[in-house]
């Protein structure tokens, strides 16, 4: 199975370690993961109502990711762009059918790990309270619960109620004060939960919350993939 990594421009620019962790995880699981040269799915342009740049990004996306059996992404927001908005953008373009095909093969990490790899290959360990922050753009909570259930040693793995961290729709450069203010109640929830570690499967939330947390006390924030790729946190079992 040929799998491509849709790294996202956010991860490439602001969390390259996440891309490296994803590649390492795939390698350790014995999977062929390719990271083709790529930039952006076009979500910022779509959110700004600019169809021409968004359409250009959509056509480029199809060219880059066509021909793989599966495309993997660390961002439900980008996945929603490709699956919901890209078909609209490409409806009258020659890439329409190819676009639908790519969209059908695009998955986020939790869904991929549960359905295509199998939870039994993961033996995560963590001493302390773990929390999970679901993205408002569509975290597969069932898959996340299945993965959290595998963690040994952790106290009360909790999926927090859905809230919005304030990263989306270009708020970070349009209304930065507002974007900052929206992260506050989320960080408070995370802090008050007493969790030592909070995971998420959305790189946008991760980058934004990390920036807002800065030097304040609170849980360690990491992407689910970074957690699972770290041998101190997770043992990977061979395929049976």
């Amino acid at each position: 199975m040929r799998i491509a990594l849709f790294a996202t421009c956010t991860a490439q620019a602001f969390r390259p370690g996440l891309t490296a962790a994803g590649r390492k995880l795939a390698h350790d699981l014995g999977l062929t993961l390719v990271t083709p040269p790529q930039t952006c799915c076009g979500l910022p342009a779509w959110d700004a109502g600019r169809l021409e740049p968004a359409r250009m990004a959509a056509r480029q996306f199809v060219r880059v990711f066509a021909g793989y059996d599966l495309v993997l992404t660390p961002s439900p927001a980008c996945r929603r762009m490709v699956c919901e908005h890209m078909p609209v953008l490409l409806a009258t373009e020659p890439e329409a059918a190819a676009g639908m095909a790519v969209a059908a093969r695009l998955v986020t990490w939790p869904a991929f790990l549960v359905e295509h790899v199998g939870v039994e290959r993961f033996e995560p360990r963590f001493r302390g309270r773990i929390g999970y922050f679901p993205a408002c753009t569509g975290t597969d909570e069932a898959a996340v619960q299945a993965l959290l259930a595998r963690i040994t040693g952790a106290e009360l793995p909790t999926v927090f109620r859905q809230d919005c961290c304030g990263y989306g729709l270009n708020l970070v450069w349009r209304y930065p004060e507002l974007s900052r203010a929206m992260a506050e109640p989320v960080l408070m929830t995370l802090r008050l939960s007493g969790a030592a570690l909070v995971l998420t499967d959305e790189v946008g939330c991760l980058v934004h919350l990390l920036a807002q947390q800065r030097r304040r006390p609170g849980p360690v924030l990491r992407h689910l993939v970074e957690f699972l790729a770290d041998p101190d946190c997770c043992r990977l079992l061979p395929q049976r």
């Binding site: 421009c9 490439q12 620019a13 602001f14 040269p37 790529q38 930039t39 952006c40 910022p44 342009a45 779509w46 959110d47 700004a48 109502g49 600019r50 169809l51 021409e52 740049p53 250009m56 990004a57 480029q60 927001a77 408002c136 753009t137 109620r161 809230d163 919005c164 304030g166 990263y167 989306g168 729709l169 270009n170 708020l171 970070v172 450069w173 349009r174 209304y175 930065p176 004060e177 507002l178 974007s179 900052r180 203010a181 929206m182 109640p185 934004h208 920036a211 807002q212």
Partner: protein
């Protein structure tokens, strides 16, 4: 841009209140939405039907194209009665037409009988939310304002303050001659006007006033009592988490035995026909429950004050205001969103707010600043080159993202 801390705390509590409710029954939004869309598709027919029936019931029907005309019509009706002290109920319509200001400018004392609105008038604060207008007023602030306005000794005991308010407002209600009432629905089939609340202030005003001046937006017409029943349920569930309103007040014209001797109804346009012409009839299905406000994480940081004095605020306001009342400020509103889609889940008439907001942003893209246009031009040029695009993104963050 975010509101001050006490306001944000009040907004957060409102959000919690709404979040703890059970979700809407899944069959309700499509049914209620269809009832609204059916009427909006032929709005002029239903409006004329309502006007005919209302007039047959003995009401006087007036049409206000904009808020200034609405103010003039209300003031004229009040002048006809000779009264200079007039009561009003709670309705976002009064904020939309800035009636308090118009009345004060014409020597008319317009007193809100709804305690929340009355406290807003005492403190000079702006409303927080269409259903809970005064939830952000702190006890100290309110107590100080009451002490100053009513010349009573200051107290921070909530029971004492509530009792004082009752002693001040009840006699006004019992002595009411003329009342201006913002109503929720107008029933086209029989020309009646409907008010909903949980404390009875509307029902009292309707029963006790001799002369009622009713105000309603033209989009709030419903076809008949069956529609009304459905929409009252939709409104009550979405606004208050209740299956029904505690009080449903129905005015069906002036009566001989009891109720008002004279009823005027002013039908307000103020940009609603502009919205219809722009293809936003789906958005005008809004029944003003405010659920989308309480669910919206952006609104929870800024409150209704950030959207200006318009027919709507919050997510639905961000959809309608740029079309109903196009200004630079209203045309910024569709960008006040994070794309979380919480609003769509709570709308009782099934308005696809995220989709409409995206549509507004597309329509408004042409008026972007030169800086934004330059930014996206660069974005597009660098898009095929990861070795340029990614470092450019890092640089952009350093320069632009002050968050």
């Amino acid at each position: 841009m975010p509101a001050d801390r006490p306001t944000r705390q009040a907004l957060y509590r409102l959000g919690q209140l709404v979040e703890r409710r059970s979700p809407l029954p899944p069959e309700l939004p499509p049914a209620a939405g269809q009832a609204r869309r059916r009427v909006l598709a032929e709005l002029e027919t239903y409006l004329n039907g309502f006007a005919t029936q209302a007039q047959a019931q003995g009401m006087r029907v007036w049409w206000a194209e904009d808020y200034q005309q609405a103010d003039r019509l209300v003031i004229e009706r009040i002048r006809e009665t000779g009264c200079t002290e007039v009561l009003r109920n709670h309705s976002p319509l009064f904020d939309e037409i800035a009636l308090d200001r118009a009345a004060a400018g014409n020597g008319i004392k317009l007193i809100p009988i709804h305690p929340g609105d009355h406290y807003l008038q005492l403190t000079g604060a702006s409303p927080l939310h269409p259903i809970w207008p005064s939830a952000h007023l702190g006890l100290r602030h309110l107590a100080t304002a009451m002490a100053k306005a009513w010349k009573v000794p200051p107290s921070f005991d909530p029971d004492l303050l509530a009792g004082t308010a009752r002693l001040r407002l009840r006699p006004l209600l019992l002595a009411v001659k003329v009342a201006v009432v913002g109503v929720h629905f107008a029933v086209a089939a029989d020309g009646s006007l409907v008010c909903l609340d949980n404390d009875g202030h509307n029902a009292h005003l309707m029963a006790l006033a001799e002369h009622l001046i009713c105000l309603i937006g033209i989009e709030q017409v419903v076809a008949d009592m069956a529609d009304l029943e459905l929409l009252i349920r939709a409104f009550s569930l979405a606004a208050w988490g209740q299956d029904q309103a505690h009080y449903v007040g129905v005015i069906a014209g002036p009566r001989m035995a009891d109720g008002p001797r004279c009823v005027d109804v002013i039908l307000l346009d103020n940009g609603r026909r502009r919205a219809l012409a722009a293809g936003l009839s789906v958005a005008l299905a809004c029944i003003g429950c405010g659920a989308c406000h309480a669910a919206c994480p952006v609104y929870r940081q800024v409150g209704a004050m950030a959207y200006g004095r318009h027919a709507r605020s919050g997510p639905i306001g961000a959809v309608l205001n740029p079309v109903m009342w196009p200004t630079r400020r209203t045309q910024d509103q569709p960008y006040l969103s994070s794309g979380c889609r919480a609003c769509a889940a709570v709308c009782p008439v099934g308005i696809d707010l995220p989709d409409l907001l995206a549509r507004q942003r597309r329509d408004l893209a042409a008026r972007a600043s030169w800086a934004e246009r330059l930014g996206f031009w660069l974005w597009q040029r660098l898009l095929p080159y990861p070795r340029l695009f990614i470092p450019a993104l890092r640089l952009a963050r350093r320069l632009l993202w002050r968050a």
